[in-house]
């Protein structure tokens, strides 16, 4: 009877199965030719690897569709069940027939690739055996899966979609890769073609375990309730049912990935660092500079940061890691990479002679503040508060960390650039005068508020705006919208924002008048950048700069802007000497349409900071 059934299956399906087999073998031929042309395959077994992935799926889908899906859809299995053969034998016979077909075709491909491999190396039985075990275990697993899915009838497509999205989210939202799953690693491993010694027993055991599980499920579905379950599920889905199921599956799969355990990377750690903690503040300084240097730095910095946290009412602060970088200048600080929101990394050169710990602390606390409250880094009308708050706090400290007179001088230096509209265009002001000077202007604004309305009110104002109690998502957006600067000014100082801005400008101009003589001696850097044609479309960048009174060294900084961002791109700098390099030409060339951002800069010792000529965004024409 079994033989008769086998003959029936062959007679019924041989054309399609033959064509499919020819197609898969043809595809193998095509891939072989393509691989030969591209030199993209280093070993013939890599072709087997690819074909096992593709061929197993195609062959299994076709044969299972013929043996299972069509049989149950057209309900001809009822006829078979009427024969003197148990349902279990009938299903088993179909399974074995299909498996033999799939294994046979894959076996042909294996044989062909083995023949090719013999020309490549001395192919040992063990090597061939390992490859064969991997290949056929995977192929059988795929076939069994599709056989089982065939019994799910009209829901199989929906479940395919569900599994696809579940897998996609699994790999995306966890830290595991697809090849990390043992059943896939069997076929996707980079060792597939080359592992000649070690048999992957654990992966094989898992794969065969999966095959066993799938067999149990499929036989259960085929046999339970005399096979009526499979028969009912084989009926075609309506159009609306298809879409509904798809939506449901998609929605479920979105949430699957959220609850799967992630493999987290270790929290950031500065190996060999000297850690100091006080209150919510934790600072770790790189121990590579020596414990005698790092230790006192850590203690002093953490004490300052703790005071800063208390001043602004921060109950928590990100941990600060201070890493040493010998290639940085003493007054250059870089933000390093931290992988979590609970820490920041700053790179400095604290062993350099010019290292200024107070200046560094002022920089660090601002970084901590910005890390604590991300939305502030994008809200232009309120950025000035963040810029000025660090200096305001530093000036209020029992042992001031900043020279207030220098800050006032910096602000006075930029008086010509500052008007009442600037707070709303703070980033543009920053572009004109640079970070240090713009922070000084912000400090003067806060100083004015403190003098005019009282330190307590100013302190409360800063704590209100710079607090970290509001979440950094849409709730923060709503909160910021409801607490604009005019409203906050009214609330804390009972004054209008516009009049505050005018008073602020007046204060800065007043400082400029008082220090006019001193300002005369401070260098100002002005420069002109232009583009000279070297071909129809290419331009070279030339400059003409004046530093008056002269300074020894200055820089031309420029960035190539990409996309639409006004301040993106890697910063490049040409170090120049005055007066030798007052005019010059960059080695770099630019094409019509390129966007370039440039400024000249130099360090001024009187102001104790960098001054710039002002960033310009230019389009090459």
């Amino acid at each position: 009877m079994i033989a008769s059934l086998l003959r029936k299956e062959i007679r019924q399906h041989w054309p399609l199965l033959t064509i499919t087999a020819m197609g898969v073998l043809g595809l193998f031929g095509v891939m072989y030719l393509g691989a030969e042309l591209d030199e993209s395959v280093s070993h013939p077994f890599e072709l087997l690897q690819r074909m096992a992935l593709i061929g197993a799926v195609i062959l299994s889908m076709v044969v299972c569709n013929r043996l299972v899906v069509l049989e149950y859809q057209s309900k001809t299995q009822l006829f078979l069940e009427a024969l003197p053969l148990t349902r279990a034998w009938m299903v088993a016979m179909k399974y074995v027939f299909g498996a033999a077909y799939v294994v046979a075709i894959c076996g042909m491909i294996f044989a062909l690739t083995s023949l090719l491999a013999v020309t490549f190396e001395e192919l040992t039985l063990r090597h061939a055996g390992i490859v064969a075990m991997r290949t056929f275990s995977f192929v059988l697993m795929v076939y069994t899966f599709f056989f089982m899915m065939g019994l799910l009838g009209r829901y199989r497509v929906a479940i395919y979609i569900l599994l696809f999205f579940c897998f996609a989210f699994y790999t995306q939202y966890t830290s595991r890769s697809a090849s990390g799953v043992p059943v896939f690693d069997l076929i996707m491993s980079s060792k597939f073609a080359y592992e000649r010694i070690i048999i992957p027993w654990s992966q094989l055991a898992i794969t065969w375990g999966v095959i066993g599980g799938l067999l149990t499920i499929l036989f259960s579905m085929a046999l339970v309730r005399e096979g009526t379950v499979a028969s009912m599920m084989a009926e075609k889905m309506s159009y609306q049912e298809k879409v509904f199921i798809s939506c449901l599956m998609l929605g479920i799969s979105f949430f699957v990935g959220i609850f799967v355990e992630r493999l987290e990377s270790e929290p950031f750690e500065l190996v060999g660092g000297i850690e100091a903690s006080e209150g919510p503040a934790t600072v770790t300084v790189d121990g590579i500079v020596g414990e005698s240097t790092a230790g006192p730095i850590a203690e002093r910095v953490v004490s300052a940061v703790a005071d800063f946290a208390e001043f602004f009412g921060y109950e928590t602060l990100p941990a600060a890691f201070v890493a040493f970088r010998a290639d940085l200048d003493a007054d250059k600080y870089e933000q390093g990479l931290s992988t979590d929101a609970d820490s920041i990394v700053v790179r400095v050169n604290m062993s350099d002679e010019g290292w200024d710990e107070d200046e560094f602390i002022s920089f660090l606390v601002r970084d901590l503040q910005l890390a604590q409250s991300k939305r502030l880094s994008h809200l232009e009308p309120k950025i000035w508060l963040s810029d000025g708050a660090r200096y305001y706090w530093a000036a209020q400290a029992a042992d001031p960390l900043v020279d207030v007179e220098k800050l006032r001088l910096r602000a006075a230096y930029a008086a010509d650039c500052f008007d009442a509209t600037c707070p709303d265009r703070w980033l543009q002001l920053n572009d004109k005068v640079g970070d240090d000077i713009v922070s000084a202007i912000a400090f003067v604004g806060l100083e004015y508020l403190a003098e005019e309305y009282g330190k307590d009110d100013c302190h409360a104002f800063l704590r209100d705006v710079l607090s970290n109690r509001v979440p950094d998502d849409f709730r923060g957006v709503v909160h910021d919208g409801l607490n604009s600067m005019p409203g906050l000014m009214k609330k804390h100082f009972n004054t209008s924002y516009d009049s505050f801005c005018e008073d602020w400008v007046a204060r800065v101009h007043e400082l400029a008048e008082e220090r006019a003589a001193e300002l005369q001696s401070i260098s100002r850097i002005t420069g002109q950048v232009s583009f000279e044609s070297i071909s129809d479309e290419s331009r070279s960048l030339t400059w003409d700069v004046e530093v008056s009174p002269p300074a020894d060294v200055f820089e031309l900084r420029y960035r190539r802007l990409e996309g639409f961002e006004p301040r993106s791109g890697k910063r490049r700098a040409e170090s120049l000497r005055y007066p030798r390099d007052t005019q010059g030409e960059l080695e770099d060339t630019f094409t019509i349409g390129d966007r370039v951002r440039t400024t000249f800069s130099t360090r001024n010792d009187v102001l104790g900071c960098e001054i710039i000529s002002g960033w310009q965004n230019l389009t090459v024409e």
């Binding site: 000649r196 159009y239 929605g251 070297i534 290419s538 639409f564 019509i592």
Partner: protein
Amino acid sequence: MNLLRKELRSLLPFVWLLVFLAVISAIMELFEVPYSDTLDKLLSDLSATENSASWFIIVLAMTTGLLIREYDQRTLEFMDSLPLSRTRIFFTKCLAVLVVLLGMTLVMWCVEILFLKLGDDSFTDGRRHWTALLVAIGLDLIRMYVMVGIGILLSFFRRFGWLAAGMVYLLYRLVHPHVPELETVNIFRLTDIQVVAQTIVIPWPMIAAQVVLGTICYLISWWLFHSADRMVHGYRNLSLTRFGSAFLILGSIGIGITVFGILLLIGMDQETSETPEVSSTTAVYTDWGLSRASSDHFRFSYRSSLSERATKLIAASDEVHDKVVEFFQTSSGPPIVVDATSKMQRHAGMAEWNTVILDLNTSGEMENLKAVLGHETAHVFIDRLTDAKLRNIFSSIRFFHEGLASYVEFHKFDPSSDIENYYRTCAYMRDNENIEFEQLVNDGEFRRWQDTNAVYPVGLVFIEALLEQYGPDSINKVLSAMNREKMPEDLVGMAYWRDVMQAAGFNLDTVIGAFYSRLDELVDDRREWLDSVPQLKGAVRQNEWWLCIIPILQKMDDQPVELAETDEEAEQSADQDVGKGTGNADDEEGADGEEDEAVSEAEMAGQSGDWQVFCRFRQRASSPDSHYRNVRIDEDGEFCVDKSDYPGNVVWYQLGLRHDDGTRLYKRWREVSLHE
């Protein structure tokens, strides 16, 4: 109108699905850090292939039953009895689908623009932003139009439509490397946004080709629906029979293979016509028999024609192996299989798991072959010590892999090429601010701007810095950290290296600092040589058909250098000195077409002392090395390419200098937009 309402009603489930997706997406955005969206990010998301693929699947699902359902459910006869023409029915159905999809697209864009505008500041150029957004939306809508057309046509194939779509895609992937012009009809590329001067480069040829393609699909579908009932019914009946299904599958596969074969031949013809004539030929006797031999640690297979060379190498192989083992402070392990039968275009050697592929034709010098074997054996041991895990994140560790193997090659062996060339390359790059560690750990970004083979010298210097900073055990500690259990598998780039270094007990910042310090040392030590390297600039000129790069050489005293014709000696020298890189097998886009380069370098015009200029081009930043086009200089002293070879409307070019001693220096890649 009633018909349109009826069609829209039947599409309601899909509308709900799309609304669901849009709502989920919007909710997820609400809980992200606000103001994080930028216009560039938005355009980048649109350009992602996953975006196009997702939409294509949705479109296929929507269009699958649009027309065919009427046949299968036999409602078409009922509709025929109504005072409605088939044309009108067809038009209404298409309109319904387009209304839903285009409408949802616009809604999703509105949501994205809303979130985008939250992040506006005083720098935001509203006019440019809105212009760019309108262009991007336009491209998205055109893409949808084309996808719906294709989907409707495929729907007539019923379940074979998905198979047909898959086959077309597979064929495209196989043929495209040989026929780059095919990209014009790639619907997934239409929304690949290119921005130049804050303006989106509109790919007019691509738009025209794809709109025509989409319209043809609509027209064919209309004809089938309007006039080909018998054909549609016949197809349906055919697909239900055994022989019919077999015929359809065979026919599909046959057509696919035929089309592939034709296109492949076209591609091969093009490659043949572009290959410059080589003045000398190297004969390889491929019909020589295969020989095998083993040493204690290797199993060699090689061509009998090179048996003498192979035998010497085999005799020295165990010594090579022992040196590598000693360096890695590890044990021998199973024998390494060496395939020395290959003649590789782009590599002297490659390595896979426990396997080395070697080209014995590279060199007749035994020391050089030993060095190559040592390099590749180092790759094998790196794989062993990390259990091949590095293959999964090769982009983040390529410089490390190649640098470590190069370190072994130069410090343990005596290759014919000089390590000084490597140091000079690094010094030149550092002096020109072309080395950033953040870029090095992202190979795609590195290749975008730099010569892909620069990872060898730069990686070698990194290894030297690591060893100097943390001692001889540092390499093994790093490899152990890379191979540790429960290491997160999705870390890439800086995050990966931070994690690895920390697990190894090191600080990444310290290593980076040491790396830059080492580079600065190389610059200081070679200051005089660096000052002797002429400055090289490229000027662009283009007309309707050609894009040309004009190399401009200047000495340090700013005096321009006249480009002169190459003399015969330089030609011969360039022909003989076909230097090849060694590579890891995953480094499949290793050294580019060295032979092409040698030929074009031989024919380059222009010498500044012993320096020669060359130029190469590519279609896009992500183009693999095998697609780079080395171009010979013309009589006007320019490097010119045919603009029709670049359907994406941008061209990338890279100028370089080559010294007679073999040193190659590359400028950064530059992008140029094409226009008339």
